[in-house]
């Protein structure tokens, strides 16, 4: 029973990280109906930025905030410069651009920081402070995720800018008619998504260690989470994240062993897409032919 509880809590901790990344994916999907294959590499790149700040002697939390800002600017820039020209291009062109972005971010990180694995510090103390079932980093990661989710909710629900962004995502034409600059709203959405992803990267790096390929698996779980919850539903993505985290941990610990953990994500992704493409909470898409 102890072991079971420990696995569930550890699952919730990684689940929170998947939830953040899944939320980043959903934010971009909602605004543009694109799935950002480079989301994980963006997060990885931001985490390296944090690492070099901390390495240069900046204390953790200022480095954390600077990284979030850096990721935001990076996201906005990428949307404006790289994604904008292919906004209305065929799907294949868009997928190719995302893959190009993935490859470029990955190789630039490898170029600057080398491919050797680095340790990334955790801001939380060594000794367990949340009881015996959970390490303090896991507990802290859940806390940070919750704060990020709450801030995002408050931003989208209660600020005029958040409202404008939701309007631009839901109905671009009408939003433009009431004077919202839809293009900039999309860029802001990209920035926010990159910032949230950056937080996920900094939270997962102490667990998986820092290297240019660290987000491959995490991105896959985030895809699974977003799909399980319904790819156009932010709350669903968060729920999916926690569900996938717990499921992955329990199956890995008790049923199929750690080697096949990634296969859980594969089965979930294909299973959901084939059986119920709208996920638990997504809108069912009806296309007119």
């Amino acid at each position: 029973m102890d072991e079971f509880l420990r696995q569930v809590l550890a699952g919730l901790a990684t689940g929170g990280i998947y939830a953040s990344l899944a939320l980043a994916l959903v934010m971009i999907y909602q605004a543009t109906h694109l799935v950002n294959f480079a989301q994980g590499e963006l997060a990885m790149f931001a985490t390296y930025f944090a690492w070099s700040l901390i390495d240069a002697g900046v204390p953790y939390w200022p480095a954390f905030l600077l990284t979030v800002a850096f990721a935001f600017v990076l996201g906005v820039l990428i949307e404006r410069v790289i994604i904008r020209p292919v906004e209305n291009a065929p799907v294949l062109a868009v997928v190719v651009v995302f893959i190009a972005l993935l490859v470029i971010l990955n190789s630039v990180a490898g170029w600057i920081y080398s491919y050797t694995i680095k340790t990334f510090p955790s801001p939380f103390p060594e000794e367990p402070i949340f009881g015996k079932y959970i390490t303090s980093h896991e507990g802290g990661a859940i806390g940070v995720t919750m704060v990020v989710l709450l801030l995002l909710y408050l931003f989208f629900r209660f600020t005029p800018l958040g409202l404008a962004m939701r309007a631009a995502a839901q109905n671009p034409d009408s939003a433009r008619l009431v004077g919202i600059r839809v293009g900039w709203m999309l860029a802001l959405g990209w920035g926010l998504a990159a910032a949230v992803g950056g937080v996920a990267g900094m939270m997962v790096a102490p667990i998986v260690f820092l290297d240019p390929n660290m987000m491959g698996g995490v991105l896959l779980y985030a895809f699974a989470a977003a799909l399980v919850g319904g790819i156009d539903n932010p709350a669903g993505a968060v729920f999916g994240g926690f569900l996938v985290g717990v499921l992955e941990n329990l199956l890995g610990a008790f049923v199929i062993g750690n080697e096949l953990k990634l296969a859980v994500a594969l089965v979930l992704i294909i299973g959901v897409l084939v059986v119920k493409p709208s996920g638990f909470f997504g809108k069912v898409l009806v296309t007119r032919v």
């Binding site: 694109l34 799935v35 294959f37 790289i82 020209p85 292919v86 291009a89 799907v91 294949l92 062109a93 868009v94 997928v95 190719v96 651009v97 893959i99 190009a100 972005l101 993935l102 490859v103 470029i104 990955n106 190789s107 630039v108 490898g110 170029w111 491919y115 491959g216 698996g217 991105l219 896959l220 895809f223 699974a224 799909l227 062993g257 080697e259 096949l260 953990k261 990634l262 296969a263 994500a265 594969l266 992704i269 294909i270 897409l273 084939v274 493409p277 032919v289």
Partner: protein
């Protein structure tokens, strides 16, 4: 085919046959790999270029082909040439089966599902219950075949000619499939699937069949690649193999048979040159070329060549028309 096309193909073939006698053994090996990639790219191009189903996971079928050959040679002592039809059959079935659920997925979602397949593949290959066959993390080492009938060439040259023969066969086959009934159905589904269905094309069958044939091509490439490299291991079949194939078809030219050759030469030789700069440089260059081609030349090198030929012949005709 026009007469000019036949001449071009004959010249290219002659040059390809003369090649291993002119360059070093190592270069011959590299050209063998380029041929292998050409087959794989042709397979992916059938699916993504002609049929419009985006796959980011063709590295998986490449791996299945490679492992089929390696296991047959290592465990059962099957001769290398006999493993290739088996690898083709295994991948045809695997592709067809993967193509069935893929029928329900369009565009982006299929890309996502195949991406997931490619990312999780190395972990599956390392699975310890399969270790007896796959050799686990260590992989399998196989022997390079010797030239038969006491031919006066070395093993590298023989493998090159063997691969060249298979490549030719696969290209002729592809050319026949693509200009026939099946190829037209594939293109029709890509461009207007509702209209295609109304015209009596069995959409589901054609789509999953295309998936199967495409996987078969990639599997044959994987089998030949394993024989050429003499080694298979899980970590050499990561997501980046699939991405390299995507780079190849985008740069070679979407929906073009000759594009497979341009793309294969690009992905084989550009990393060699770029490696001199930095370990990360080949990938940075791949990424930048991908972006560049999407923005500037969406039809790839093959499209650019076609345009150049049209322009040159038109100029020649204009000059001939002037007195």
């Amino acid at each position: 085919m026009s007469r000019r096309q036949i001449i071009v193909i004959a010249v290219v073939l002659l040059a390809a046959c003369a090649l291993p006698f002119v360059v070093s053994n190592y270069r011959t090996f590299q050209f063998t790999l380029a041929l292998v990639y050409a087959i794989a790219l042709l397979g992916l191009n059938m699916l993504t270029g002609y049929n419009g189903q985006i796959s980011l996971g063709h590295g998986a079928f490449y791996a299945i082909g490679a492992y089929t050959t390696a296991i047959l040679m290592d465990q059962y002592g099957v001769p290398y040439w006999a493993t290739i039809p088996v690898a083709a059959a295994v991948c045809l079935v695997a592709g067809f089966l993967f193509g069935l659920p893929a029928l329900r997925l369009e565009g982006l979602y299929l890309a996502l599902a195949t991406f997931a397949l490619a990312v999780s593949l190395p972990a599956l290959l390392k699975y310890h219950h399969l270790e007896h066959w796959t050799g686990g993390v260590q992989g399998i080492v196989i022997l390079k075949p010797d030239p038969p009938f006491d031919l006066p060439i070395n093993a590298d040259q023989w493998l090159y000619f063997f691969t060249l023969a298979v490549t030719l066969l696969m290209f002729v086959l592809a050319w026949n499939i693509l200009r026939g009934r099946m190829g037209r159905a594939m293109v029709a589904i890509r461009d207007q699937h509702v209209a295609a269905e109304a015209m009596g094309v069995h959409t589901a069958m054609v789509k999953s069949m295309t998936f199967g044939v495409s996987a078969m091509y990639t599997g044959v490439a994987g089998a030949l690649g394993a024989i050429a490299i003499q080694f298979v291991a899980p970590d050499s079949f990561n997501i980046f193999v699939s991405i390299v194939f995507l780079v190849g078809i985008v740069i070679g030219g979407i929906a073009s048979i000759s594009g497979a050759i341009y793309g294969a030469l690009f992905i084989q030789f550009v990393p060699n040159i770029a490696d001199a700069i930095s370990k990360a440089a080949p990938w940075a260059i791949f990424g930048i070329f991908l972006l560049g081609f999407v923005y500037l030349s969406p039809m790839g090198v093959a499209g650019a060549v076609r345009m150049a030929v049209v322009r040159l012949t038109r100029k020649a005709q204009n000059q001939a028309a002037k007195p």
